[in-house]
Symmetry: C2
Subunit: 148 residues, 2 copies
DNA sequence: AGGATATCGTTGCAGATGCAACGATGTCAA
DNA sequence: TTGACATCGTTGCATCTGCAACGATATCCT
């Protein structure tokens, strides 16, 4: 089969393959929106999360995404400075930060989403529909099970 | 289907999913060998490439892997300092660096490979064999086509 | 009530990263 | 041969990153 004893093929090694593929895809997509809007990957993720979940705290984003708290915090800081996000102290628990999008933040989000969808479609169009479907399902499964 | 207009689900977004999955897998595996041998991901990749291809230059690694030249160069420097790799000037073209493993480098490699294989098997064991097979094929296909 | 403990977000810090520029070397053409 | 141009690996620099520590706030337990 694939893993003969003594032989090892880095290019066929799953963690390596995943890392390369993910880096390429992320980089390609990031190029699109960073050129257009000047935001980084963590910033895009934060915006997308807020847009999706309404007002969220750093903690909530951290719980769902595999990003360090500090990365989120700094991204939020930059977004606030750019006028895309507002930070407020949460009413209930004053340790929490309530992150929400400004009008400009929503406008940017509204323009990025179609780009994201178009890009995703383009990547998947390289696979026949059934393969694409299966692929997505497998990734989803691995993500669910991996989450310890 | 998945992408309704106006709706957007970050957790279902392919580039995001890939990034999260790849980061988790890489991190988990890296934890194993960094604890044991004190090397980083770029260093492991460099070692694996040299072991596989014999004597290689920074350029060759750069061509095959999606790692910046400087990242490779610095990883090679650290490996040399650790006595795992030897840098020599290539005979034919004196601009090239000829990277090769020392005895200690080979010894380390020989001990990492089984860990890598075991880890890969463990990840794939979460899928039924046919799904795993398909998944690997799809990744391979995307990597081939993506390479522009 | 009040002190021990936990949680949240920020920040300091050391190290890693990508990019561009550089020196060294090689190639090509006149 | 010689000068223009290309290629290779390294390095400077600005930035990003993860980790740990911290202050502020909340919760728990007696």
């Amino acid at each position: 089969m694939r893993n003969e004893p003594g032989r090892f093929d880095l290019e066929g090694f799953l963690p390596y393959q995943l890392a390369v593929l993910a880096a390429r895809v992320s980089r390609d997509f990031a190029r699109l929106y960073s050129q257009e809007f000047g935001i980084t990957i963590p910033e895009w993720r934060v915006i997308a999360h807020i847009a999706q979940a309404g007002t969220v705290s750093v903690r909530e984003i951290h719980a769902r995404v595999d990003m360090d708290k500090s990365r989120i915090s700094r991204a939020a800081g930059r977004l606030e400075a750019a006028g895309l996000v507002v930070k407020a102290t949460s009413k209930g628990d004053r340790r929490l930060v309530a992150l929400s999008l400004t009008k400009a933040g929503w406008a940017l989000y509204t323009r990025i989403v179609p780009m994201a969808q178009r890009y995703e479609t383009e990547v998947l169009s390289r696979l026949d529909p059934e393969t694409a479907q299966r692929f997505r399902g497998t990734i989803r499964q691995l993500l669910e099970e991996e989450a310890v």
